[in-house]
């Protein structure tokens, strides 16, 4: 659940000029810029997101669900802080499905590896807030993100120093000029990742990924991510729909940003335990934030 908002892959259109030739160092610069902009979109942002999952098959060149889809709707607010905006505070409330409606989680995540992620869960049956055991997320195996094919690892940002990057190719893809970049995990990353390699197709003009492929430990293609409906908000580019095709399980998950309000500050108290139990206060603040939805 942590860093919920980070799945919205967004890049700044008004960034510093990038070098014309993509040297190894420049490729890292590209990825750091991509990563920094992902964090930027998560700063002072309210989103209403829909996470849909199903088994899939291809019919007539299109993807179809082979079973009734499962759907979760989440409303979340997040704020970045700390050095290089790498710490985050977020609150997420489940609106659907009915069985989980009202579940709320407050999370403080820190870039400093010596500080543990802190999470508090609102237990609706008891009407009280409980501190959750989280430890340092770097030490935990990735788990399913809200029951979807996405995992907590897929949500991570701020880890560019844990990869070596190489430019594989550049040229037109889906009608846009892209860099195709290979990310190989360094030993510090290899110890905790399930992926042996990532390939990322980065839009050169908007610095937004159009596609990503993740490979398993044997080097075989495991997951395919596509980034669609790319739009600009407050000078930031964002893929409003991210789809993950798990080629092993033949299941897919789609995260769609139904509504977004970016760059809206709230009182410090909103990202505290109070918001999990004081519903009247929470709705009061959210109502004000929702007025800024696009």
């Amino acid at each position: 659940m942590r860093r919920l908002i980070m799945v919205l892959l967004v890049l700044s259109a008004a960034g510093a000029a990038m070098p014309a030739a993509a040297t190894p160092q420049n490729v890292r610069d590209i990825m750091e810029k991509v990563d920094a902009q992902q964090r930027q979109i998560g700063h002072q942002t309210l989103t209403l997101s829909r996470l849909s999952s199903c088994g899939f098959a291809k019919q007539g060149g299109k993807v179809v669900c082979t079973e009734a889809p499962r759907m979760k709707v989440l409303e979340s607010y997040s704020r970045q802080s700390g050095e290089n905006m790498k710490d985050s505070q977020s609150i997420a409330i489940v609106l659907e499905p009915a069985s989980e409606r009202g579940v709320g989680m407050l999370t403080y995540a820190y870039d400093d590896a010596t500080r543990n992620t802190e999470s508090w869960l609102y237990l609706s049956a008891l009407g009280k807030v409980k501190r959750m055991v989280t430890g340092n997320s770097d030490e935990q195996e990735p788990v399913s993100f809200f029951g979807s094919e996405f995992t907590t690892e897929d949500m991570e940002t701020g880890k560019t120093d844990e990869y070596d990057y190489r430019l594989l190719q550049e040229g037109p893809y889906q009608g846009r000029e892209v860099w195709v970049i290979e990310a190989l995990p360094r030993p510090v990353r290899l110890a905790k990742t399930r992926y042996s390699k990532l390939l990322i197709w980065v839009d050169q003009a908007r610095f937004v990924p159009l596609k990503m492929q993740a490979y398993d430990r044997r080097g075989e293609l495991w997951k395919r991510f596509s980034f669609e409906h790319i739009e600009s908000f407050n000078g930031l580019w964002m893929a409003r729909r991210v789809t993950l095709f798990n080629l092993y399980s033949q299941r897919l998950s789609t995260m769609e940003t139904e509504q977004i309000a970016q760059g809206i500050a709230v009182d410090e108290a909103f990202l505290t335990q109070r918001t999990l139990v004081d519903f009247a206060y929470r709705e009061q603040v959210l109502q004000r934030l929702r007025q800024h939805f696009d």
């Binding site: 659907e96 009915a98 008891l126 080097g219 075989e220 395919r224 335990q273």
Partner: protein, 402 residues
């Protein structure tokens, strides 16, 4: 290259070839309703079978909550339980019956740093799971089935709660003008009603301080006991039931150390009434717990709750005892299957149980639970009241929610 071909690429040399067959239709997933949903309806049927007891009951529940105006919020939660003819409680009652209950009916008003919440609600202090050193504000409902969670074992009461926040500090004030007793079954009698009518108001205050990795809370409350105590009457009837009124000072701590969470609840009870005597004494209750998540995301919890068990007969005496618990849980299959195990054991009154539970989510609306338990409990134990029966038992439930 097999990988590249699977991805639809021409080969290593050309990563710019368009993929085919991954086009996603915009109508693949039906968009949810635009308007927020404020209600939830759930239906379930629960069955337990063992040599000694049968539980067969159905539940219909309706919940509704929403903001009513700026700074105001309401919640209603009502349920009807049907106890079928074979159910152990139907035996007590003399036949099948249904029981309607209001679990929540409150109004919350928020202003500045505080909120006021008035109406039917639960208030639970203390952090150590499966122990009640501090969780004595609201009484228990022993007619609820207990598997690997004690969550449903409480009943809400009509009370007023005021809570204020200032930075890392929280202050909570509780006033309960009309406390009730724990529910053992639904066969109410006049004696119990008379006892409940004679209870005085309860009130308490709690202060909590939160910092990175830690929460510390101190509390004080003046309470009525949740169960009546037999005391010497001195007349023809040697004993009568009395509900003790006592003060509790408490302290609660949760401290995270990496993937380990350490919890401590400590309570000092003044003027605790002793069974079969007219004596009162001051007592300590302490619960120590830990929760741990492994790197593979197995969740473990353990705890010990030290308390004074009341005398079970006039010839007996109260004795300090401890209840231990050990639990494990793990979510698999994209969280569709939740597996959990809970073991409990204590010396006085003697109790031991081990329960394994599998909870499977079939869809966004349907889920089932299956459990297998082995228990061994002495009569008269509060925990035994929660439905433990000697020997093996199996339980199953099917739930639908919308």
């Amino acid at each position: 290259m097999a990988v590249a071909c699977a991805a639809g690429h021409a080969g290593d040399g050309d990563w710019l070839t368009e993929d085919e067959g991954y086009a996603l239709d915009d109508t693949l997933f039906e968009a949810p309703e635009a308007a927020p949903r404020y209600s939830r309806v759930s239906l379930s049927h629960f069955l337990t079978q063992s040599d000694q007891l049968v539980r067969s009951r159905s539940l219909a529940r309706f919940e509704y909550e929403r903001p009513v105006s700026e700074g105001h919020y309401v919640r209603v939660d009502g349920k009807v339980r049907r106890f079928h003819p074979s159910d152990e409680l139907a035996d007590v009652k003399g036949g099948a019956y249904q029981e309607a209950e209001i679990e929540a009916l409150w109004w919350q008003v928020s202003a500045r740093q505080c909120f006021v919440k008035a109406g039917r609600q639960g208030v639970y202090w203390g952090g150590v799971d499966n122990s009640f050193a501090l969780d004595q504000l609201t009484p228990f409902d022993y007619t609820e089935a207990l598997l690997t969670s004690f969550t449903g074992l409480r009943q809400a009461e009509d009370l007023l709660q005021v809570q204020c926040y200032e930075g890392a500090h929280q202050v909570q004030l509780i006033i309960n003008p009309r406390p009730g007793l724990s529910v053992l079954n639904h066969d109410r009698d006049r004696a119990r009603d008379a006892l409940e009518a004679g209870l005085h108001e309860e009130w308490g205050v709690r202060w909590q301080w939160s910092t990175e990795g830690r929460e510390v809370a101190f509390m004080w409350a003046r309470l009525e006991d949740n169960l009546p105590t037999p005391v010497g009457a001195g007349g023809i009837q040697p004993y009568r039931l009395e509900v003790a009124r006592f003060d509790v000072w408490g302290m609660s701590l949760s401290q995270s150390v990496g993937a380990l969470l350490v919890l401590l609840d400590a309570a000092y009870h003044r003027d605790q009434l002793q069974a079969f005597t007219n004596h009162r004494r001051h007592e300590w209750e302490v619960a120590l717990g830990m929760e741990y998540t492994s790197t593979a995301n197995h969740r473990y919890n353990a705890g010990v709750w030290r308390f004074r068990a009341p005398a079970l007969s006039p010839a007996g005496s109260s004795r300090a005892t401890a209840l231990f618990n050990l639990g494990w849980s793990k979510s698999v299959w994209r969280d569709d299957l939740e597996l959990s195990v809970l073991g409990l054991w204590g010396g006085e009154p003697r109790i031991g149980s081990l329960t394994g539970l599998a909870d499977y989510q079939w869809s966004d609306h349907w889920s089932t639970q299956v459990s297998l338990s082995y228990a061994n409990a002495a009569e008269g134990s509060d925990i035994a009241l929660a439905g433990f029966a000697d020997g093996w038992s199996t339980s199953a439930s099917i739930d639908w929610v919308y």
